[in-house]
Symmetry: C2
Subunit: 321 residues, 2 copies
């Protein structure tokens, strides 16, 4: 093989992929940056490493700001580590610069595990859009899975549809609910109560939290045939109370998902979405490339700007060419 | 023309379009719902009404939660009404069910204008994703413009890239900044300080707000050649102080944008993005349609699920077919 520039890109990908598979933290961090920036190298890495994936358990955790999510993720990480599992945490943040303080808070608490080689924490919080960040999640999970982490925890802030979509890429979904805000009805309306496998009410030391848990139990989704009954758990992340029970529940859930075939079904659905998204992305890039060299676009745009042609009609004409 | 089912859709579109142009509020509300749900009728309406647009002034307003945005929008609406202008407000919310309280708050305050036929308020806050809502904005603006509103105010919560992207579809952008949070550096890092034409610091009665305004003045974007110097204004929306000056500034800004050709340039750039998005959307729908009937997809997916084919490679193969 030549050492010329033509082969340097695949060589770089091969080296970095080998580093990721060997569990080298710096290689992993660099590889994730490539995925996050959606570079050619990032795609190449995911493609090379995909065959080495499918082993990690992927858990999505979401909840409104202030629900104690970060503390819980840190405590859960401690529990999983105690059981000898290697844990990666991916924190997805829609990159509002105004959340920088909160993010720093997260990291400080997760920094309890900073000296632990068995914990890898990565924040996807750069200047991308939430949609962009969501697209970086499957690639990031691929890399962490290939790097041999037993658990990949995807943490998002907020419980809108975007966040639900992100955690929906996981094998299992945990919602951290905030007591005392009367949001249960809103969550049901938004269809959010149907998504999580486990709902955690943090701050079990508060009577309001216990009342909240009771009302959530009444609002559980119907159990699908042969399915998993939504669990409502109480924790106090600051003291660690209830966190081992959450870890235990996640083990039972994964066993259930695997035995019932639901895990395979969920993963297939996720890969189907990913495949279609990638195809669309490829096509979009191709379209942009062709249009850059296409004088007809500017002509169509002239007509749109003078309002003599509607954008949708111009789009159809563009595609027809 | 036949009254059969084949012609009922175009007939419905023609009737609804006529209602929108006649300024009928119920027709407008129904039309926006079609756009929001991204139905065929919604697209048809936008296409029919596009020729009647380009007259409204479109202003995007964004800022972090708690900056006093809603109160300011309500006060500004009052000012514009006093000048005889008809005003439409589009509130874009990423549909976290946990913001329902805040939204209700917005509506109550904007409800000061509820009896006023010259004010139309619409919240795009249904179950869509923020990305989905962003895509509903151009169509909604088209309808409001065609309905004859002089001003269309697009209001978003938050100052992430998604929100900037949404307000970036407007002719002019106003950022409502929150004093005392030390976020200026974050905003500069995120490139957000470069976007707004006007930055409003609310709560002028607070010394911290005045200090914040002074530091923002030092951080202003460089004035582009023949361009508009970013204005930093102080308001107290609750008392209305400074709001007439904001309305005045918006008039001057629009005159400047028009005279300098910048308005045309911005609108062309916006329509260019829209055209490409619509083309991509059309293609995506076509791809989904074909794949639904395509047995090859399931075969490719089988190979992806067994990890013998990477999703990106499967996507390429899919496109090649």
């Amino acid at each position: 093989m030549s050492a010329g520039p033509a082969s340097s890109a695949p060589q770089a990908a091969a080296r970095l992929a080998a580093g990721v598979q060997a569990g080298e933290r710096r290689a992993l961090a660099r590889a994730i940056t490539q995925v996050e920036r959606r570079t050619e190298l990032g795609r190449e890495l995911c493609e090379r490493l995909f065959a080495a994936t499918g082993r990690a358990r992927v858990v999505g955790l979401t909840g409104p700001p202030g629900a104690g999510k970060s503390t819980l993720v840190a405590a859960l990480t401690g529990c999983l580590r105690a059981a000898g599992r290697r844990v990666a945490v991916v924190a997805v943040d829609p990159s509002s610069p105004f959340t920088a303080g909160a993010l720093l808070g997260d990291r400080i608490r997760l920094d309890d595990h900073a000296g632990d080689e068995g914990v890898f924490v990565r924040s996807l919080a750069s200047r991308g859009r939430l949609g962009g960040l969501a697209r970086a999640v499957p690639g990031t999970v691929t890399l962490l899975d290939a790097a041999g982490y037993d658990d990949v925890l995807i943490e998002t802030v907020g419980v809108g549809q975007s966040e639900i979509e992100i955690v929906g890429q996981a094998d299992a979904v945990v919602l951290i609910s905030l007591p005392g805000t009367g949001d249960e009805t809103q969550m049901i309306k938004a269809g959010i109560m149907e998504v999580p496998d486990v709902i955690v009410v943090n701050r079990a030391d508060d009577e309001r939290a216990r009342a909240h848990a009771r009302s959530l139990r009444r609002l559980r989704r119907p159990v699908p045939a042969g399915g998993w009954e939504q669990l409502i758990l109480l924790t106090t992340a600051t003291t660690g109370e209830g966190v081992p029970a959450l870890a235990e529940a996640l083990d039972q859930l994964q066993a259930h998902l695997r035995a019932s075939g639901e895990l395979e079904r969920r993963r297939r659905a996720g890969l189907r979405r990913l495949l279609l998204e990638l195809a669309l992305e490829d096509f979009g890039a191709e379209l942009e490339r062709r249009l850059a060299a296409e004088p007809a676009l500017e002509g169509l745009l002239d007509d749109v700007c003078t309002r003599s042609l509607a954008p949708a009609a111009a789009a159809r004409e563009l595609l027809a060419r």
